[in-house]
């Protein structure tokens, strides 16, 4: 949470092999990556290069084959050892933003966001209060009582970002968050992610193909055949 020591993301020598024997696929062959708190980095690479695999490892939904991962201040994986409660890890340490917003259709905007603190055992009122603050910050507070199906694509994505942020996780993983949006809205999303990263000292990884937003990153990791190499980005400001 917000007051926790946060060292961002540290990945060293991470590998992931799907399957075994003749049909084994080495999706990650040694990934090294560092993201500081408050930083937004891009992760780009051709199809099949291992972007989603890396995100799933970081998101603690699949287990890497070797290497080490540190999120926030916790080692979550090191050479076959992993922390026990992955569910609580995801809930408290990782915010997810997807290509599609995947809001819960039967909860209104506020409760879609407030659900996470509620799941972590916070009282409803406090959770909603926190959700409203974020919705305010993301400029969708006026739609707080609407159902997700009544929102525009951009509004939905902002609600999804609010949901990813609400537990103040040290890490946010965003998978193609701007794909369905036009260039103006895409840049707006990136602007918000940057602002939130600064404000809450969150380490954010954005997986993207999106030419519109690539110039905005200060640092970009390229991934190819399961290996990463780092590159300075343009870090273009977009105010």
């Amino acid at each position: 949470m917000a007051d926790r020591l946060n060292n961002g993301i540290h990945i060293e020598g991470l590998t992931k092999r799907y399957g075994a024997g003749d049909t084994a696929v080495d999706a990650l062959r040694g990934v090294d990556m560092q993201v500081a708190p408050g930083e937004v980095v891009g992760l780009v690479g051709p199809s099949g290069s291992g972007k989603t695999t890396l995100l799933k490892c970081l998101g603690a939904v699949i287990e890497p084959s070797s290497g080490s991962m540190k999120l926030g201040n916790d080692v979550i994986y090191k050479d076959g050892w992993k922390i026990k409660d992955l569910r609580a890890l995801r809930r408290d340490n990782i915010g997810f933003v997807f290509q599609a917003p995947y809001l819960i259709p039967f909860l209104d905007v506020t409760d879609n966001v407030a659900l996470l603190p509620m799941l972590a055992g916070r009282p409803n009122a406090e959770s909603r209060q926190r959700a409203l603050e974020l919705l305010e910050a993301l400029d969708v507070a006026h739609r707080a009582k609407a159902m997700p199906s009544q929102l525009s694509g951009g509004e939905q994505q902002r609600v999804a970002i609010a949901r990813a942020l609400v537990n103040r996780p040290p890490v946010i993983l965003a998978d193609e968050p701007t794909a369905p949006l036009d260039s103006e809205r895409a840049l707006a999303v990136i602007r918000i992610l940057n602002k939130m990263a600064q404000q809450y000292q969150t380490a954010i990884i954005v997986v993207t193909h999106d030419e519109k937003i690539i110039p905005t990153f200060r640092r970009i990791y390229h991934i190819r055949d399961g290996r990463t190499h780092e590159e300075a980005g343009e870090g273009r400001t977009f105010e």
């Binding site: 939904v61 609580a88 995801r90 997810f96 259709p105």
Partner: protein, 397 residues
């Protein structure tokens, strides 16, 4: 924490209500089936209660008079009257037949009673009891007869002088009470051709028509045209005497079968309507299975439609328990809607049934518990599917 199940139900209330109504009608049928059974048992008890008898004296080794034919001489009651503890005793006959009113035919049980004796209907809703020895009748309301109607039983006409209710035979036919003498005659009545033929046969029999014995033939013929049998004797015991205490000497000394109220109830419930109750039990089992299948199918389909949301919920750290609870609560919610609809519809249509349908609160409570259990079991399939969902699916490709 908010109720995910409740929110989902509110969001998709149309689906839930429609399914709930469908399920509810099934549950209504189930409750009604149980009510039909309870009604039969209650009819039997009311029948015994309203007859005003404490003991039923019937033919030896029979389960009469309702479950098996029984026939005893119509003067036996005099001997019984003299037994210790007997307050009153009266003959009674039962005969299921068609009773005519003008062009209409009603299936009824004609009960021959001694006016003023045990066996008379316990109370009347209109009119008066039978006072004359012949050609008056008291009918159950269910027969549709009115005061003053002229009904026909076999060859004789009767005036309806009184109406009673909840007096039906074990097969649900309304009872029509008539004087014992008339009933005995109706039971035994032969058509004129048969009487003529029988007289000729008797006259042709040398044993009955002896030249040296004048009057023998007439006596034999008179005895043939006279029914001196009844089906049972109803006995009321004196206050302070237990039924069993009075029954035992009658069994022993009169060599007749005697049943107390408790035993009679046992015969009616366990023997007479045993097959019907098994039939109803079978229906209940099938309805339970069909209801379970419907709930399982609906909940499973609804859950499959939410796989994506469930993956997201898991990814953001929702416990399996919470997700299972959500599905279980939805199943229970469906069951609850179904039960409410079922209970209301059963209450609405129960009075329309030709036979008495008794909806007992106890049955409703048991039914409610059964519905919840069935719904919980039916949600297992959907819960298993939901628990198998991989949170990685939310991240996609």
């Amino acid at each position: 924490m908010i109720s995910l199940a409740g929110r989902d139900i509110l969001h998709a209330w149309g689906k839930f209500v429609f399914t709930g109504v469908g399920l509810g009608l099934l549950i209504g049928v189930t409750l009604t089936m149980a009510g039909v059974y309870r009604g039969m048992v209650d009819d039997a008890k009311v029948l015994l209660g309203n007859s005003g008898a404490d003991l039923w004296v019937v033919q030896k080794d029979t389960l009469g008079p309702y479950a098996e034919p029984s026939s005893i001489y119509d003067d036996v009651y005099r001997g019984i009257l003299g037994m210790p503890g007997v307050e009153r005793a009266a003959n009674v006959t039962y005969l299921t037949m068609q009773v005519r009113l003008g062009e209409r035919d009603v299936r009824a049980m004609a009960v021959g009673i001694v006016p003023g004796g045990p066996g008379e209907p316990g109370y009347l809703v209109a009119g008066r009891q039978i006072t004359r020895g012949h050609y008056e009748a008291v009918a159950d309301m269910a027969s549709g007869f009115k005061l003053g109607d002229r009904i026909q039983i076999r060859r004789n006409h009767y005036t309806v002088v009184g109406l009673t209710r909840r007096m039906v035979s074990s097969s649900g036919d309304p009872m029509v009470f008539i004087p014992l003498r008339d009933a005995q005659e109706a039971q035994f009545l032969k058509d004129n051709d048969v009487i003529v033929q029988q007289r000729r046969r008797t006259a042709a029999n040398p044993a009955f028509n002896r030249p040296g014995v004048p009057g023998l033939l007439d006596a034999v013929i008179a005895s043939q045209s006279n029914n001196s049998f009844v089906n049972a004797v109803l006995v009321q015991t004196k206050p302070g005497h237990s039924a069993e205490e009075v029954a035992e000497p009658i069994r022993r000394w009169k060599r007749l079968q005697v049943y107390t109220r408790v035993q009679m109830e046992e015969i009616l419930v366990a023997k007479l309507i045993a097959t019907s109750s098994k039939q109803i039990g079978m229906f209940l089992v099938i309805l339970a299975i069909v209801s379970a299948a419907i709930v399982a199918f609906i909940i499973y389909t609804l859950t499959l439609g939410k796989i994506r949301e469930i993956a997201v919920l898991k990814l953001i750290g929702t416990r399996n328990r919470t997700i299972a609870g959500m599905i279980l609560q939805q199943a229970l919610g469906l069951g609850f809607i179904g039960f409410v609809v079922g209970k209301i519809s059963a209450t609405l249509w129960a009075p329309l049934f030709p036979k008495y349908v008794l909806l007992e609160p106890g049955d409703a409570a048991r039914g409610f518990a059964a519905v919840l259990i069935i719904c919980a079991l039916a949600s297992v399939l959907a819960i298993r599917a939901a628990l198998k969902v991989d949170p990685a699916e939310a991240i996609g490709g």
